[in-house]
């Protein structure tokens, strides 16, 4: 189906690109991307995927917008305080691009619901701040054969890697298992510069766009790290898929999804976004 004059103008900066063009924009408009977390990483990813015209964007977050979020979760505004994050995010996305269908999931992701939720999508974006859900997303995507991008941010650093079935290591190949409670800062004491969340979240959106359009090189088998204080990107080449990996290896020992215990933090909320 041909684009309307409004769509041609809206997406003109994509269409001009030889690598995207009309065919790439049609792929974007037909694509379905799930963003887990409407926080620091999910917010910029959602904004750019909506702007790019990704046809269906799912957004998962059980939380409501609070004041401390606004320093980095730029899809939400002061007038959204107290609102469910998914509704706030959906409103902004629809305003940016009314052609996009936004599906909201105001719930916690766990072993009981994740497979059903991700089934509808072509690509998953990890925008969560806790390891139980990061491992859950990895395991579910491996089991379901879904590509996804993992990312993390802390203080002045960020990183991301992409998993495409059959094309390199999964998150567990690299990080094996959950760190113990309190081993790695996840709560308020860590801190983060908002713009770093923006950079890494945008890179996640870019991985989704590249995957959908079939262009460029994805971060499969690579961990892209960013040091904001040094102003330096450093790419770590990852070893190939681990044949002994517990979930994607030749003889998986993890065959069911795991709901790990949550990290300890006085007012941590389960499954909440960065």
């Amino acid at each position: 189906m041909a684009f309307s004059p409004e769509e041609l103008e809206r997406y003109s900066r994509h269409i001009i690109l030889k690598e995207v063009g009309v065919k790439g924009q049609k792929k974007l408009c037909a694509a379905k991307v799930l963003i887990v977390g409407a926080g620091g990483l999910g917010a910029p990813a959602a904004l750019y995927l909506a702007a790019a015209g990704v046809g269906t964007i799912g957004i998962v977050d059980a939380d409501e917008v609070d004041l401390s979020n606004l320093q980095r979760q730029i899809i939400h505004g002061t007038s959204d305080l107290g609102r469910p994050k998914v509704e706030s995010a959906a409103d902004t996305m629809r305003d940016i691009n009314p052609h996009v269908t936004v599906k909201t999931y105001q719930e916690f992701l766990d072993s009981a619901n994740i497979m059903d939720i991700i089934a509808d999508y072509d690509f998953v974006i990890d925008g969560v701040d806790n390891f139980p859900t990061k491992f859950l997303i990895n395991d579910a995507c491996v089991m379901a054969g879904k590509p996804f991008v993992h990312a993390g941010i802390i203080r002045f650093k960020g990183q991301l890697m992409t998993y495409v079935p059959g094309q390199g290591p999964c998150y567990r190949c690299v990080f094996h298992d959950m760190p113990p409670k309190d081993a790695v800062p996840t709560c308020k004491q860590a801190g983060i510069i908002g713009a770093i969340a923006g950079i890494i979240g945008c890179l996640e959106a870019l991985e989704a766009i590249k995957y959908i359009c079939g262009i460029g090189e994805l971060l499969c088998g690579r961990l892209l790290t960013f040091d904001a204080l040094k102003g330096d990107f450093h790419t770590i080449k990852l070893p190939p898929r681990d044949p002994n990996c517990a979930v994607c290896g030749d003889h998986p020992t993890i065959t069911e999804l795991i709901d790990y215990e949550q990290p300890e933090c006085a007012d941590a909320q389960h499954g909440s976004a960065l």
């Binding site: 926080g39 620091g40 993390g152 802390i154 690299v174 790695v184 961990l223 450093h234």
Partner: protein, 68 residues
Amino acid sequence: MNITVGGGKRSVEAGTTVAQLIEGEKVENAAYVTVAVNDAFVDHADFGSTALFEGDTVEFLYFMGGGR
């Protein structure tokens, strides 16, 4: 001997082990760092016994979740 750590050049004593390098680099949260030498992961149990050689490339990979 000269090695590369996290993309940067380092000069270390011959025979330096991964464990010694971690200490020398003041790696944060060393108990939970993942180490790759020449694109292959080194098991935590082998940090003390894995010696580095001239020209080796070492990478430190960290758990990164997020902050609220």
